[in-house]
Symmetry: D2
Subunit: 416 residues, 4 copies
């Protein structure tokens, strides 16, 4: 499969990136239709069996890959970050949403929403982050869910919702504050030791065309709009949803959110390795051709150090990512927290360094539209913020090392 996917990415995706940009065009059109090249590539990928590869091997719908195996494929997809994940139906946020529906959706929800998602016919968004609150602590989520006859009303603002402006979007999974609603569950939770503060939220399905769903504006990252996926600010104004759109049950939002962030948390870093390899190749192509005063840049020792350090950083990144994937396979995401955090912090930072050097080697061209570098930089820069900024992960990692140390030394003392 590595071979098939590599061939697909190198021969079908990368050469079509320019066509994709052309088809996107300028202005409102960028959001109004999926560029035809996407549909063609999806068809080809599916015919080659390169489809839904991300689904963890423990689910029926899975092509049977472990996270370790998928990590290798993800890297390859990362080489054409705009096209390959989408073409293979392996792109965020659909991947995480499909996982939610696989794990927590009921039969009806699966039929209505999961099947077309798995077929790549529709797209979905996950609406969690809100303006004005620190959403990295999900207990701050304030978008409100209230019960009305036959269902619920959703009210609140969301921001940085990936895919919300996209032409194929059909549903939002929305994290909402449902408050004490989940009272019937209280007893179970009390037994299970989950604190009350983690019973106040729910995840609901909001059809994209519901009245009251107001997508206010697409946001740019640096100056890129990331069309036709994009990241948007939106508002839910008295949006009605039927009862059957509650996922798993009232008050169980935290379970779902945590489950969603399992392996998905490192898909980004897996792809980032591929981004970095692509950047290094782009730099190599430049420096082996560009001559200054009769010599190629590749003869310049400063540039050679950039290349060498890029190789070191990329290979170290790959080891960390594969190790995290492997630990998830062996022990589950909850027991691979350390490994996930290591990769989550290390990888984007060094990939950005590789990209920065690749841009620098290109001169002005490196920050402009004629190489994929600046857009990859913008994309990778968000990884230092998404799912919690570096500093939160470093803090937790540091604290966890301290705790382990204290436990170890206490244990050592008590042995005496």
């Amino acid at each position: 499969m590595i071979k098939t996917l590599t061939k697909f990415v190198e021969e079908e995706c990368i050469p079509n990136e320019h066509r994709f940009e052309q088809e996107l065009g300028v202005g409102a059109q960028r959001w109004s239709r999926v560029p035809p090249v996407i549909q063609e590539l999806k068809q080809k990928a599916r015919n080659l069996g390169l489809w839904n590869l991300f689904i963890p091997h423990e689910y029926e719908e899975s092509p049977g890959l472990t996270n370790y195996e998928y990590a290798h494929l993800c890297e390859i997809m990362g080489r054409s970050i705009q096209l390959a994940p989408t073409a293979t139906n392996c792109s965020a946020p659909d991947t995480g949403n499909m996982e939610v529906l696989i794990k927590y959706g009921n039969a009806q929800q699966k039929k209505k929403w999961l099947v077309p998602l798995m077929n790549g016919e529709i797209r979905s968004a996950f609406a969690m982050t809100e303006p004005n609150v620190a959403s990295s602590d999900a207990t701050n989520i304030s978008c409100k869910l209230t019960r009305v006859k036959g269902g619920y009303l959703v009210n609140g603002k969301k921001i940085w919702i990936t895919g919300a402006s996209g032409p194929a979007l059909k549903l939002f999974l929305v994290m909402v504050r449902s408050g004490d609603m989940g009272s019937e569950l209280t007893n179970n939770y009390a037994e299970s030791g989950i604190k009350s503060i983690h019973r106040q939220h729910s995840v609901v399905i909001v059809p994209a065309n519901s009245p009251g769903v107001n997508v206010k504006r697409p946001l740019t990252v640096f100056g890129f709009d990331d069309a036709p996926i994009g990241h948007s600010e939106l508002e839910f104004n008295n949006v009605f949803i039927p009862e059957e759109n509650m996922v798993l049950g009232e008050g169980r939002g935290f379970e779902i959110v945590q489950g969603r962030l399992g392996p998905g948390r490192i898909h980004h870093t897996m792809r980032a390795i591929g981004v970095a390899e692509r950047a290094l190749e782009t730099m190599l192509a430049r420096v082996t051709k560009r001559k200054v005063q009769g010599k190629t840049l590749a003869e310049n020792r400063v540039i050679l150090e950039w290349i060498a350090k890029a190789r070191i950083d990329i290979d170290a990144s790959r080891h960390l990512v594969l190790d995290a994937a492997h630990k998830i396979d062996l022990y589950g995401p909850a027991n691979a927290k350390k490994e996930i955090a290591l990769a989550k912090v290390f990888v984007p930072n060094v990939v950005l360094e590789v990209l920065d050097k690749a841009m620098q080697a290109h001169g002005a061209m490196g920050v402009g539209p004629d190489t994929p570098l600046a857009e990859m930089y913008a994309n990778m820069r968000t990884l230092r913020l998404a799912d919690g900024p570096d500093e939160v992960h470093l803090f937790q990692l540091g604290r966890s090392e301290v705790k382990k140390f204290l436990k170890r030394t206490d244990a050592a003392k008590s042995k005496l």
Copy 2:
């Protein structure tokens, strides 16, 4: 004047940045007209005597400031990098172009082009960089100038030409290869020691509306189009210009280019200090407000270190810039090469670091459109490439240190 300018920037420019974005709008409109706010601000600035401040004190047209004095003003303008330099008619590339016309233009050229530029009625571009060659070595310039009856033809491609797509653009100063044309000057040059390779180029004035001037596309920097100034790719196809549009004389392009890069070379770094101060303030505003788990981010020691390091880096930058400006005042740009290079390399790198931390402190908002940080980042990132990438300056600086050392030790030896 510092006080007046500070008040103007804080009360007139910064509060109008949002309006500027609104007036720019989207699509083709961004290039078709100068946002009205610009005209208003220009009028106000001129009334306050904040006009053409950049012109070196040795010229008649100058408001009489030294570079050292101007550096302080430039920093203040940098705080509103999109509006303040333009509003005060102190923005690149017009500043450099006016200097060229002041120093090298004849009376007729001054009357026709310099006067309206100094009045801020028209804008200009400087067309030097070309695709496919290392333009940091100007001897590579290949855009061709040929003599025809009554004038010349210009043929060739240029890229990253700032302002070329702007609505007020009236003229290009173009660096062209004029070849042996300058033969009548050969003797003088031979005497003056200038090598033949530096007699092959000329600078000519090309009116923007000349037939054959083809602006192909505006280029983006990290996705930003920098409208209504922008940076464009363009082509000159058999563009005819009259003889009187030759500046200084055939074959004297190098003199002009070098003269143009004098003090102007550090205007960018002067403004960059202001950009960094603005970024630090933006970060301070964020972290003193944003609360996580009941505490502001400003109570987090990691953040306090970012702030402290930003202060250190900014103040060190300011010292380097002011020192370079002072040395230019005392000894002229040619004798302040070292100081200019120190600032040129140090400042953009640390300003980018300040910006990066400021973005990080904002979460996703930091890379989005609701703070000026990402656009400032893109802007500052180009300073590591413009007028020669960091590496060229480091190489020259290193070599110059080596030469000075050898000279010093040889001198020491010969004393024995």
Copy 3:
């Protein structure tokens, strides 16, 4: 004076560094006598008027230099860090101790201790840091002073006491906890707003040969003993001192300690600039000679970048140090806290980077005894810890920026 001092350092100090090492020898001898070369250099320096240059211009005993002027001289001394400061009687900790006696000593104390110190006949130590407590907060000092008939007893441990093992040492200034002793002063202090916690300490003079003074061991920094000055661990066991050895008055230790840390706080950074210049020269000497495959290392672009970056860092350091000195001259040390902190943090870090590259350019020789680099590295590394570690200064600097910002924005608001 710059010329005279430069000549003295280049022609008398640097060429004698090897002789100094030889005379120091090995084993116990290193602590038993001052190498004769030191005495010779002292005589020469004094004859040249290069003596006690550090004394601030506001004191009678001063040669009349401002801190800004002294900073330039200090840099020159730093080029021969082992010999020049000692030869000119400008070396820590004597400089700070002389300042204490000048500012706070009574006539008798001046006659007995200050005069021979200023003549360079004896040396002194300042005993503040203690094992097991965070001495960067001086309220933790626990070495105890108790009153007995005719004087006091001193009891306690001190560590990292510079000069304590030296052959010429005659006195310690010791920071002690005197507790409520200073009660007669309470009222004055209460009026002056100084908190009681800052009235619990005193500074006393302990003659080095007092019974009960036990210098336990010299400490190494990395593996260097820094003989014949050194840094020692010591104990005071019931050491009796007469009443007249109290400096300024009981309970006034804090005043003295803070006064002592005035300009002295940046003498180290001033000298550090000289250390870095020496390191850069050492590197230049190496790379212009050493050939690899027929080319000198100075032709290697990576090495040229090291040199260029060293130049940038050194010049930025110098600006920061001179600016801090200038601000002290203008406004006093208390009002130059920010500038002192900027230099205190920035300079040692970049000097270490310069030293690290200089070592790297020498291969194994760089970390060995045949260049001064490794010892300079050890010396400079302590500057990131002495008088408070980097992190304390960064924390205070960050907090002070936050406070200034809040004050400014509050002021801006209240204007509305």
Copy 4:
């Protein structure tokens, strides 16, 4: 075996480090005898089967470990870098020398020198580096071998020879320039494609007590003498050695040297992981105890980031080292060049960073003699220079990436 070794290091080595320092003492004594604790530990280690673990599994004498397996053990030894490798007879340079004798020694040489080395009864040195030449290119070696009746004379200088001053030293393996001597081998070499420049050197055994062996001085690294092993400068003055002391054959020095640098090249990095883990633990012990203003340093977020980053760097290092060891096991050292280089450059740099932060967290204590940190720093700093400085490896790595890229793209083109 991991368990046994861990227990041995934690319970026998680390607690004895202080005793080792005490037994070493001061002055000449440091070189005159092996501290008794070493002999005791050796006996214990051998009894536990922790002996000669380094010998690659393909040799008869090996305990049968792969490099991958040995890497894990090496890390554990690195935790007590002064004692554990020596105690287990796994310390450089003996390990490399034993490998040379195993691979290239004849029966008589093995009996006389290898057996006592493997028994840990004697020690050996490898004399390659010379003053004044760039020894990282071994063709520069100039120590001369000349034929005389019954044997050879050795003449020349060597420097940084580890172990040369040690009390147990019995033999040197010396890389010498034997010139055209190896003529009888010319034909074979010519066939094998080895260039003549690589036939000019030989490796010979020089008994340590041979007349004319002059160990001039032990060298320090950052002030540390590293007794009783040390690193010395020495001279061979007409040292006679019998014919039987030629290893492998005249002119075959290069083969030997390259063979010697096989797996051994990463033993240092394997141990460095253990050094870093020890440093992190030392830091954790400090910061969980030390209180400032009522809070432990472990509650300071800046310190927690140091700890987190140390964990990331250490784990990334371990992955790189284990991967290199694994590739050596699978494909041999020659085919694991890239992986070896990655680890060789990455690991020491990040371990130094961990050590630097650990020192910083200790205040002055961190650079003094009461923690192992400063000595570990000195030790690790040499790894950036030993077996070629970082820059040589980065250069080669960069060039190799360029070559691979060109090969790949040429191949891709030729397919068209």
